[in-house]
Amino acid sequence: MKKSSSWRVFAMVALLAILLTACGGNAAPTAAPEQPAAPAATEATAATEAPAVAEPVKLVVMAGEDELSQDIIDAYVAANPGVTIERIDPDATKLAAMIVAGEQLDVIAGSGADTSAYADRGWVLDLTPYFAKSELLKADDMVPSVEYFRYKGGWYGMNKDWSPDQSFFISKTAAAEAGIELPPAQTIITWAQAADWARKMTKSEGGRVTRVGMAYSDYWDGTVQTILMENGEDLYSEDFSKANIKDNPTVVAFLTLMAELAKDNAIFNPLNPSPEWVVPDLLNGRAASADNGYWIQGGFHDAENPVVAPADYVMYPALSWGGKVTANPALGGAGWFISAKTENADAAWKFFEYYMGGAPALNRAQIGWGLPALKSLYAEIPATEEWQKQYIENVQWEQANTIQTPRRINPYYSTGVFNTTWQANLERYLKGEITIEEAIANLDAEVNKAIADGIAVAK
């Protein structure tokens, strides 16, 4: 009897241990995910051009739902019998853990800014042979921002869309109210000129700022880099080991100008922040001008009952520091990579190719939230309204007449450090706790410390 009880105890402990281990483990699904019903075929989502895959294959794609919708997955799976796709949400730490642990991951959504880090760690596949053979994705059909995905001779991915990120938008009504005579489209406007206009267009009521003159997009490091590009300079040393901020007169002058604009409440700032973001700020009349990209077109296109009509805004080339030339490349690039550890490289490429050059790419171009990464899709960009046509003309002019070379991405630190450190020091400056020189010196010190930390980790 006692012996029998002991066995029961042992059996229960073993069973519990097995159950708990199963609960805690990261068990991979043993069955393929249930295939959803095929959606009604539309021109935008039809995946008929994707070739059928004979062998059953499951692809694991790390991408946000906003860029890889269930509709896209359903359309592809319906047109490719045997293929199943599992989408998982993007997460940098999870990505690293999955790759190191050898878990299945085939396609990875990421920024072009990540290319060097991913390639150096051997996480992503060099797609050069695939691009060379592709009928859909041809090098001469691609925009310059695809360069963000090239590194040390390899070609690791592609952005899904892009925009020159710092074009300048200004309200004709606000300008007229302030007595500003706007120059013809495609005129290069300087930062000093725009700052002067911003001050004139700022409106206050009872101590409250009801309209800032300019909604600055907070691409602090990117703007500094593009301003320096005008003279062939860069924020970082050749080997990326140092950022030159406090000793570069142009950078100091730019940051000082912006701090003074913030002090005058002519731009949103840490003490008077934007309640939303640039599109609603412009459409609700909270900002009279903005530096931003063609992305604005998508927001304007979808606007319902705007206070200020999209047609009221003129798009100009990016602001120039020197006044002779301006640089307005895409500051990054949201795109896709293929994992170097994938066992389904060909199937992953087929899906990659479909997403970047097939129906989803056509659909994105027709919506007009950003510009297509393939020039051949430019004809699809929305151009029914006059203001939409003006935006396209401006983009084409900027592509032909401004510096479009991608900026250099420092692989040793996150540019979030530059932006958050500057915001923190700008706040202290605006509260009168430090001088602008101290704010810039603090930024220089913090950014260089972050770079030094990154280099130490990389060694």
């Binding site: 760690r121 008077n272 630190y413 932006n419």
Partner: protein, 328 residues
């Protein structure tokens, strides 16, 4: 059966002081605690141990295959920040100020409300519920309510002030964020403390109060000499819980930041609300210095531990215990 055999069996049955029946009972005990114990191991002990190990590395959250042990370098850097008036020291000092301001306000206010709510007043059930409601609202929702109240441009408070004094415009969330955080903390924290104080007040023996009243004591004398001493264990508990909660504050200042939604992971609250946990969050997730962030967490842990030990030690001088806590 010989006497020797019987002795051998008895010895076997008494292995490690437990008979066969004792072993069976012990086994059942372990079976019943196994689900909790395995969970505790998997989700508490192991993560804490990994966190400790991480604090000795240069782990960035992504360098699983290349991270290195760097000894006490993270701790050395953190203490360097403390001794050179760096940002870590600033964050700790702001957190300390938050604790110093909110804990006394919370305790005094909740004690006063608890005294009122234990009196025979009309509608006390309603008021008890009313004061407790903020405690059951999820933190995120309650912070959003306060954000809607205090918003610089569209806040209810500024709108009301404008009705009273036209053209009044106060940037609550950007120029007075610390005040807003303290107000939120008191609003959200008082309800729970009131309940505990009410339990304490209702536990004061009625015969003591009756005796004092017969001896001619007035309300203040009764509170000072009877109620307050008997409530010191509750006050002591509120102090300990308040210190731990205040020093770990993170979510509230992050959510109160004006651009919390737009900035996402890079959210930076106004400098007045740059608490120690915010600094750890920034170092870990914005700067991707998980190793350094872990070392800061351990420093915070030991700081809280030392404070708690000091408070517990000093409690014998001011906390009334019906039994001597040192008696075993």
């Amino acid at each position: 059966m010989s006497a020797d055999t019987q002795t051998t069996l008895r010895t076997k049955r008494k292995f490690l002081g437990l008979s066969g029946f004792g072993w069976m009972r012990a086994s059942w005990f372990y079976v019943f605690i196994a689900p909790w114990f395995l969970g505790f191991l998997a989700f508490t002990v192991i993560p804490v141990a990994v966190g400790m190990l991480m604090s000795f590395t240069n782990f960035t959250g992504t360098n699983f295959d290349t991270y290195k042990f760097i000894g006490l370098a993270n701790y050395s850097e953190a203490f360097g920040e403390f001794f050179t008036d760096g940002i870590a020291w600033y964050a700790l000092s702001r957190t300390g100020l938050f604790a110093i301001v909110t804990i006394p306000i919370n305790i005094v206010l909740s004690l006063l409300i608890a005294i009122l709510l234990t009196r025979n007043i009309r509608g006390k059930g309603f008021f008890r519920t009313l004061f407790y409601i903020p405690s059951i609202i999820p933190v995120v929702a309650s912070v959003w309510i306060w954000k809607a109240l205090m918003d610089n441009n569209y806040g209810v408070v500024n709108a009301v002030l404008n009705e009273i004094v036209p053209n009044t415009y106060i940037r609550w969330l950007t120029e007075y964020p610390f005040h807003v955080l303290v107000m939120w903390s008191v609003w959200a924290g008082v309800g729970g403390a009131v309940i505990i104080f009410m339990a304490g007040i209702q536990g004061v023996p009625a015969e003591l109060e009756e005796a004092a009243r017969i001896d001619g004591a007035n309300n203040f004398q009764m509170f000072r000499n009877i109620t307050a001493p008997l409530l010191t264990p509750v006050i002591f508990y509120q102090f300990i819980v308040g210190i731990i909660g205040s020093l770990q504050i993170l979510t509230q200042p992050l959510l109160l930041a004006p651009r919390a939604v737009q900035a996402g992971i890079a959210t930076l609250p106004p400098r007045e609300n740059y608490m120690f946990m915010i600094h750890i969050y920034q170092e870990s997730f914005v700067r991707q210095r998980y190793g350094y962030g872990s070392s800061l967490l351990w420093i915070l842990f030991f700081f809280i531990l030392i404070l708690t030990i000091v408070m517990t030690y000093t409690s014998k001088y001011w906390v009334y215990y019906e039994v001597n806590p040192e008696d075993k």
